[in-house]
């Protein structure tokens, strides 16, 4: 049985959706992990080590972090963001497929 997270969580960030072009409350969004990790076009060509790196190894920096968010309770689109993991401040958000900022 899966339980929802408690509803009294304080959702605080404002996030600019590059598709809606609007800053909306965090509660409309879902985090989706590190950005710019491209699925290899042919995984069968990868060594175990390369595949392991793709699956599990993430940069986890203190500071600028490229990450994905989904405007799940809005337009539904996945997009990329640069967020400072120490201050939680968003430096930029941009559409999926656009080059790394």
């Amino acid at each position: 049985m899966r339980r929802q997270p408690p509803q009294w969580r304080i959702e605080m960030l404002l996030i600019h959706c590059p598709y809606c072009d609007e800053a909306r409350a965090e509660i409309e969004f879902a985090y989706a992990g590190e950005a710019h990790i491209v699925r290899p076009p042919d995984p069968s060509l990868m060594s175990d080590e390369e595949w392991q790196r793709y699956l599990f190894i993430r940069s986890n920096p203190r500071g600028r972090h490229h990450e994905r968010w989904r405007h799940i309770h809005g337009c539904g689109r996945f997009f990329n963001a640069v967020r400072d993991t120490a201050t939680d401040k968003f430096e930029a958000t941009y559409k999926a497929g656009e080059p790394r900022r």
């Binding site: 009294w8 404002l14 491209v38 069968s44 175990d48 539904g76 939680d88």
Partner: protein, 953 residues
């Protein structure tokens, strides 16, 4: 008995007497009093016992910074609130409060033995003493500590109150309605800005409430603000936390000050998003650190002034002042002018402003400069003090019944710190003040370090000729931390204030060190011989003051804790006595007991009906996704382990979904309706997750694929009709579909109508019997269900619930993802090799299936388990061992994932994940339970009709 009510003065309403009780004794106060002011007016100085030493304590402050006077308030059954500051509890008729942390009574408290054992309870005492031996912890240490420690008691009954919540947006949020906050609001009153001004007290005014000279200004200003249409004033509202992007959480207290709780919400949580925030939180006076500074009757000078000016209460008949700051002089002058007896002014400084000395002379107050209090006499109340010159000479006794402390001021930078604004140290104030903002925020008034209280001498503690290691000079009153404790921590090697704080617990009580942090910091810096800025500053964290769980939970409790999803057929199940269970957020019928049946009897009957005739099951909760577009088959081919491209329209396939790590994450039967259209089903709990994953791949990995995904879970009611009589029952109701075995084989889908309603009719089976899953638009679900029940009566149709469904599928070895798998199970582990399209070049998770640890031998594999005693049903989750005689802890080689009584087989069955299980078929393994060891033989996973003869009819 020192405090008393003056004949005049204050903002209380003397025409409205209010009676209340404290520790069972009835007293009288006035409307406008706090519990603290009313008790003091009645001469009650002793309000609580301290946390660790159980020392008698009275008021220290007069506002929400109060560390000592914590009380419990009862407002009827379930309405019990511990740890309220008496200074913030508004008096009302019938208020019933009790003191805390004492037994048997406030005046005689056995716990006070800790005070005399004080030399054995140094900083870190608990860490040092209760470490060893481990076995003593549960039996001895913890019960003893629990009896002695703790602030107040937790409520034991369910809170009958309800709590509201709201979102607010404004251009300007002002926190604190003292003079600075009111000025900021007045400034914005002529603009078009939406302004919210909030304050924690019952009256706006802050410090102005304690200064009659400002009352006229206050009244006029509040009138102007009330008239301004763009300004909202929230009283009794505490901004408890400042979060990112100018998001401020606040709690408004709506009913606690009323004699009878009204029908409305008790408290309301405000989530406020502001363009700009102005913090006008003021400053808190700082106690001085000297022996006996916690005796009831020793309090902040500003608190005495507030009690006098706002509540018309004198703190004593002979009041002394121990000052290091000018502000205390003004406070005691106010007392003197109101006719309160003043014993003396003692000031640490060798010289003070001549104007102050002049006024003291006019008022006839004796002044001792360059002196400090070195001891306080009296246990339950101040009886006098010993003072001495700062060089230790000239000790003299001074009689008094209250002692005021004026140690300077600490700007309230709590919310500023929550917002991650930086702080700058001011040597002249001995305090941190706001420096660089991190949000659109500014501080005004005293919380920015600007005040008109005069100046003072910054000191970490008062000089004393006594042995510092033998006196108790309190720094943190609520956690009972003394200057000695902090110095000891430094001697023991702690260098950072973060560590000193955790070791001594200074600043870690419910008041978060509002009155103690800077004294603690300065004592530590002094002991380390380093500047204050070098040893760091502990962070303030929300909440500013303790808030009730009720306010934070709001309506998210009981039935409203989370949404309960119900199918269109749920109401029928309820009317027919179903027992429900929650699956994800869905409420599902678990079984339908008849007469006095228990669960097992009901489930056995339901299973028998499905195997012998026909059962009916509400499967509407199945996740459903419509996958449409020219590349739909290609997309599913990449997502699922199975091949999809060759699947003909009109046929179904069991689909298995992995994560990229190769582990099973979902499954379900899906149908191809047309070349470019699929009707997917997912597990009940996995629907949203699967759709999200699919959208992710579609949007970000394969945006070139022309595919659209739509959640249709709630569009369709799904009725599973399962059993040998299913076709006979269905046939007369269906139009446009040939139900014969040849025309409509197992794992096929047909579109037509049923009872005139359009249907997607699946011939599928999760029971191993001839079966159909009838999809109709959700609104027709119940009507169709009732028709099937009516027409099915001839066949003894039996509604069955999720429990029978589980038994029936387990008899067939069908897995439940999340029950028989746990996120570490591959298709091979689950015996689902046949569902993996090995010829496909790629699918999500394929590469991982050849990783070394996935192909290694000895992985846990899904097998069947038949107990040697067929009547014993194993416990799900029970661990499995090969040798029950081995020493504990045993080597566990697997666990039971599913276990039921099988009515069809007349014995128990189980599924289990066992290391190397598929090679162990026929072996006997053991399940050790607390009372016995159960032996069981490993089998295949299909217990019933392994040839599938019953399906293909």
């Amino acid at each position: 008995m020192s405090g008393f009510r003056l004949d005049q003065g204050g903002r209380i309403d003397r025409s409205q007497p209010v009676s209340f009780s404290f520790d069972g004794v009835t007293y009288q106060g006035y409307a406008g009093d706090t519990l603290a002011s009313a008790l003091l007016a009645n001469g009650v100085m002793l309000l609580g016992r301290s946390f660790k030493y159980h020392r008698p304590r009275g008021l220290l402050g007069a506002g929400s910074e109060e560390p000592n006077a914590l009380v419990s308030v009862t407002r009827g059954p379930g309405r019990f609130t511990p740890n309220l500051r008496a200074t913030s509890v508004e008096l009302h008729e019938g208020l019933s409060a009790t003191s805390q942390n004492r037994w048997p009574s406030l005046k005689t408290d056995f716990g006070a033995i800790n005070d005399r054992l004080g030399m054995f309870l140094p900083a870190g005492f608990y860490n040092k003493t209760f470490m060893w031996p481990r076995s003593f912890w549960d039996r001895l240490y913890e019960p003893a500590i629990r009896r002695m420690a703790g602030l107040g008691e937790a409520p034991t009954e369910i809170d009958p109150d309800h709590y509201g919540a709201t979102y607010a947006h404004c251009d300007l949020l002002i926190v604190g309605a003292g003079p600075a906050g009111i000025d900021a609001a007045l400034e914005a009153s002529g603009t078009s800005k939406r302004v919210v001004l909030l304050d924690e007290q019952d009256e706006a005014g802050g410090g102005a409430l304690s200064d009659p000279a400002l009352w006229k200004w206050l009244e006029e200003s509040l009138k102007d603000l009330a008239a301004a249409p763009n300004i909202t004033i929230l009283r009794r509202t505490t901004a408890f936390g400042y979060y990112h992007d100018n998001f401020v959480g606040a709690v408004e207290r709506l009913t606690d000050h009323l004699p009878h709780p009204a029908d409305g919400a008790r408290e309301k949580l405000w989530r406020i998003r502001a363009d700009e925030v102005v913090l006008a939180q003021g400053a808190i006076e700082r106690p001085l650190v000297f022996a006996g500074n916690d005796v009831p009757g020793v309090m902040l000078a500003s608190a005495a002034r507030t009690l006098l000016q706002r509540y018309g209460v004198a703190v004593g008949r002979s009041v002394a002042l121990m000052a290091a700051h000018d502000s205390g002089w003004r406070d005691i002058f106010a007392l003197a002018r109101a006719g309160v007896g003043v014993a003396a002014i003692i000031d640490l400084r060798e010289s003070v402003d001549a104007a102050l000395l002049g006024e003291a002379q006019v008022l006839g107050i004796a002044v001792e400069l360059g002196h400090s209090v070195i001891d306080v006499h009296g246990r339950l109340a101040v009886k006098g003090v010993t003072i001495a010159r700062n060089d230790g000479a000239g000790a003299a006794l001074l009689a008094c019944d209250a002692l005021l402390m004026a140690g300077g001021w600490t700007p309230s930078v709590h919310l500023w710190s929550h917002s991650k604004g930086s702080l700058a140290w001011r040597d002249d104030l001995g305090a941190y003040v706001p420096d660089q903002p991190n949000e659109a925020v500014r501080c005004v008034g005293a919380c920015s370090g600007k005040w008109s209280f005069g100046s003072g001498l910054v000191t970490d503690s008062l000089p004393t000729p006594r042995d510092q290691s033998r006196i108790k000079a309190f720094v943190d009153f609520q956690n009972d931390v003394t200057a000695k404790d902090i110095r000891l921590a430094v001697r023991e090697g702690f260098k950072s204030i973060e560590h000193i704080k955790r070791y001594t617990t200074t600043g870690m009580a419910t008041d978060q060190g509002k009155t103690s942090n800077l004294n603690g910091l300065q004592i530590a810096a002094q002991a380390l011989g380093r500047p204050v800025v070098d040893i760091g500053l502990t962070s303030f964290r929300p909440p500013y003051t303790p808030q009730s769980f009720g306010a934070l939970a709001g309506h998210a409790q009981g039935a409203l804790f989370q949404p309960t999803r119900k199918t269109g057929i749920d109401s029928w199940a309820e009317e027919n006595g179903a027992v429900f269970e929650l699956v994800a957020q869905w409420r599902r019928a678990r079984y339908f007991p008849q007469g006095g049946e228990g669960m097992l009897a009901a489930v056995n009957r339901e299973c028998r009906a499905v195997r012998s005739s026909v059962g009916i099951f509400d499967a509407s909760t199945l996740g459903k996704i419509e996958v449409v577009g020219p590349d739909a088959a290609e997309f599913l081919n990449r997502m699922y382990t199975n091949p999809w491209k060759a699947l003909e329209p009109g046929r179904c396939r069991y689909g298995l979904l992995l994560k990229e790590d190769g582990f099973i994450t979902d499954d379900g039967v899906s149908a191809r309706l047309a070349a470019d259209r699929f009707h997917l089903t997912t597990t009940t709990g996995g629907a949203a997750r699967v759709l999200n994953t699919m959208e992710d791949y579609l949007q970000t990995e394969w945006p070139d694929l022309d595919v659209w995904l739509t959640s249709t879970t709630e569009q369709w009611a799904v009725i599973a009709l399962q059993g040998p009589m299913a076709r006979k029952l269905l046939a007369p109701l269906v139009e446009g579909i040939d139900l014969s075995a040849d025309a409509f084989p197992h794992m096929a889908i047909r579109e037509g109508t049923i009872c005139g309603v359009p249907t997607r009719l699946f011939r599928v089976s999760f029971t191993g019997e001839l079966g159909f899953e009838i999809n109709v638009p959700a609104a027709y679900g119940r009507a169709l269900w009732e028709r099937l029940i009516a027409d099915g009566a001839a066949y003894g149709i039996t509604p069955y619930g999720t429990e029978a469904m589980h038994v029936l599928r387990a008899e067939k070895g069908f897995i439940i993802v999340g029950q028989d798998t746990d996120g570490t199970v591959t298709p091979y582990d689950a015996g689902l090799d046949w569902a993996v399209g090995k010829k496909k070049p790629d699918f999500v998770g394929k590469r991982s299936l050849s990783r070394s640890d996935i192909v290694a031998p000895g992985r846990k594999q899904l097998v069947g388990l038949l107990t040697d005693d067929p009547t014993v049903v194993l416990e799900e989750g029970a661990q499995i061992v090969a040798d029950p005689a081995q020493a504990v802890p045993m080597t566990m080689i697997g666990h039971v994932t599913s276990a039921y009584w099988s009515e069809a087989l007349g014995r128990s069955i189980a599924l289990a994940l066992v290391a190397g299980g598929q090679q162990r078929i026929g072996e006997v393994l053991y399940v050790p339970m607390p009372d016995r060891v159960i032996s069981a033989r490993i089998s295949g996973t299909v217990f019933y009709d392994p040839e599938g003869a019953r399906l293909h009819v």
